[in-house]
């Protein structure tokens, strides 16, 4: 236990836990905050002592309404976990996991040590990689219109119809196009995720993001996270192959990582 951690519970202080590393790991430096470790058995918690004035229940509730504070907290949390990831396996905890006192944290590590150890084993030597796939709807719609017989027939009918009937047919065409494009996007998402998951050790398809969240004009079709053995290039080769294969139909990919394995730890300890 570090000197800072040894000071124990003192008035006005709580213990912010970023995540778990193997006992004996160095507390990460360079994340812009003072981080120490609290150890029991073979696992250590990465902690910062935080003032209750800022991190107590009521204080946090109030501060959560402040986007700048929330963004800052997210950045610190992520920076500490990323720094720890550079030197070994990490089990990330959710933002704002705060223990009331050091004794409680110590007890927790002692009683749940086996579960935590098992999670560290699961993610050690592996990286979480994020892959998003986007489709340019204009390109996709064009492809759908060209190779869907029902739409081609409608187009032919529209070309020779009177103006009133052409309007109705046009509406029907829009609906048919939307339906078919939606079907293909769902199918595409399944194929892309399946191939990436097969090239990785595990994979999770998360909900696709809105344009606001992604910051992209194209439509997101896949928001995946994959657990990839470090140094294994099978996943990267599959991603490159997908980029090539799907370029012509307007699909682009965005790869991020390596992330702390947020998507490959259970929400609750003891779950598979």
């Amino acid at each position: 236990m570090s000197a800072a951690a040894e000071a124990g519970a003192s008035n006005g202080v709580a213990w912010y836990v970023y995540g778990i590393v193997e006992a004996g790991s160095e507390a990460p430096a360079g994340a812009g905050v003072e981080v120490s470790t609290v150890t029991a058995g073979r696992v250590s918690a990465l902690v910062s002592r935080v003032p209750l004035e800022e991190y107590g229940e009521d204080a946090v509730r109030a501060r959560l309404e402040d986007p700048a504070w929330l963004a800052g907290a997210a950045h610190v949390h992520e920076a500490v976990l990323e720094a720890a990831l550079r030197s070994g396996a990490v089990v990330p905890f959710r933002l704002l996991t705060i223990f009331r006192d050091c004794d409680g944290l110590h007890d927790f590590l002692a009683t749940r040590g086996d579960d935590l150890r098992a999670l560290l084993e699961r993610v050690r030597g592996r990286e979480e990689v994020g892959v998003k796939a986007f489709v340019d709807r204009a390109v996709l719609d064009e492809a759908v219109a060209a190779d869907t017989p029902a739409l081609r027939e409608l187009d032919a009918e529209i070309a020779s119809a009177q103006i009133g009937r052409a309007y109705l047919l046009q509406r029907r065409r829009e609906q048919a196009l939307d339906q078919e494009a939606g079907r293909r996007i769902a199918e595409l998402a399944g194929v892309l995720h399946g191939r990436l998951r097969d090239a990785a050790e595990a994979g999770v398809a998360n909900a696709v993001q809105s344009h606001e969240a992604s910051g992209r004009a194209e439509e997101m079709v896949l928001n995946g996270a994959y657990l990839v053995p470090s140094g294994d290039d099978r996943f990267e080769r599959e991603l490159d192959a997908l980029r090539e294969e799907y370029r012509a139909v307007g699909v682009t990919f965005e790869r991020t990582g390596p992330w702390p394995p947020y998507n490959f730890v259970p929400r609750e300890l003891g779950e598979a």
């Binding site: 986007p67 949390h77 990323e82 959710r94 910051g215």
Partner: protein
């Protein structure tokens, strides 16, 4: 906790909203008396509502 810090490297790869979504929605969640109850489920909704309302202005900052 100081307020000035190096930006986490990966924050540059994703939007702020995605980063907040990730750290709020993923990772191990502890419940019970040992932790402060701010770790409760409502956190996700409060946090994201705030971020959604403000993400545009935050991301325009240099």
């Amino acid at each position: 906790v100081t307020t000035t810090l190096d930006q986490p490297a990966l924050a540059q790869q994703v939007t702020l909203l995605e980063l907040v979504d990730r750290v709020l929605n993923k990772g191990v969640v502890l419940s019970g008396d040992i932790t402060l109850s701010v770790a409760g489920v409502d956190l996700v909704y409060v946090g994201l509502r705030v971020m959604l309302a403000s993400v545009a202005t935050l991301e325009q900052r240099p």
